[in-house]
Symmetry: C2
Subunit: 150 residues, 2 copies
């Protein structure tokens, strides 16, 4: 049982274009071709592609994924290299998680203000501070003036 590129595209959620691009970039050296030159994907191939997606989804660059796949193709001799590569990548994921949750906190802080019942007052005050600071430094006030409704 093998799959066509279209079937794989639907299974893994990558466009046919992307799959061919990945192949061109050396990410799919394990995919065999039939007599007509068509790619034939096995279930084992799908497993590796799944791993490629994991690495991609966590921000690994194509060139690094190619390196990992190269290791996989090389067989058991490359286990240490793969181990190292994945451990390093794991650290990068943890770092990404740290950055995301840290920045999320700040965004939540801003949302608390916007969601407050007196958001208008708070924001108006902030704006007045900013304008006062510009004036204090003899700078142009860049904020948009709305005419007072009468």
């Amino acid at each position: 049982m093998t799959y066509t590129i279209k079937e794989v595209s639907e299974k893994v959620g990558l466009s046919i274009y992307t799959l061919r691009y990945y192949d061109k970039e050396g990410l799919l050296p394990f995919v065999a071709r039939n007599e007509a030159g068509y790619r034939e994907f096995t279930d084992g191939d799908l497993n590796i592609i799944h791993t490629i997606c994991c690495l991609k989804n966590t921000g690994m660059k194509i060139s690094k994924i190619r390196q990992y796949i190269g290791d996989v193709m090389a067989g058991p001799d490359s286990i240490e290299d793969r181990q190292q590569l994945l451990h390093d990548h794991r650290e990068k994921i943890l770092e990404q998680q740290r950055i995301l949750s840290e920045n999320l906190k700040e965004i939540d802080y801003k949302l608390d203000i916007y969601d407050a019942p007196n958001a208008g007052d708070i924001i108006s005050r902030e704006l007045q501070f900013a304008e006062a600071e510009k004036r204090a430094n003899a700078l142009v006030d860049p904020y948009i003036k709305t005419l007072p409704g009468r």
Copy 2:
């Protein structure tokens, strides 16, 4: 008290190039200029730039950040728009977090294998499976053969 672009660069961790690029892209309309055309950053400006970094660090595109900044410049009338924008972005961050931890699980699963004392055996068996599958489908075996050491 105002800051030069170099000082801001050091404070916020963006290169001078990037700051100028952001200005060109409309992310810093609040930064005033002195008589010579030099940018003069206030502390309030630094606060907004900090927010820009939060949005950028969590994957927001420049064009979207520009929209948010446009709202900020418009004053309190735009609070609902900012609220909406940040709430939507918040959801995207949660989604990113979900994707990261899901994929991290899979990578940890692979690392468990590579870190196991019998990793060599497991990997060899996987490889044999993959090769058998290729043979079963009358496909070329793409895996690298190492000569048996004698």
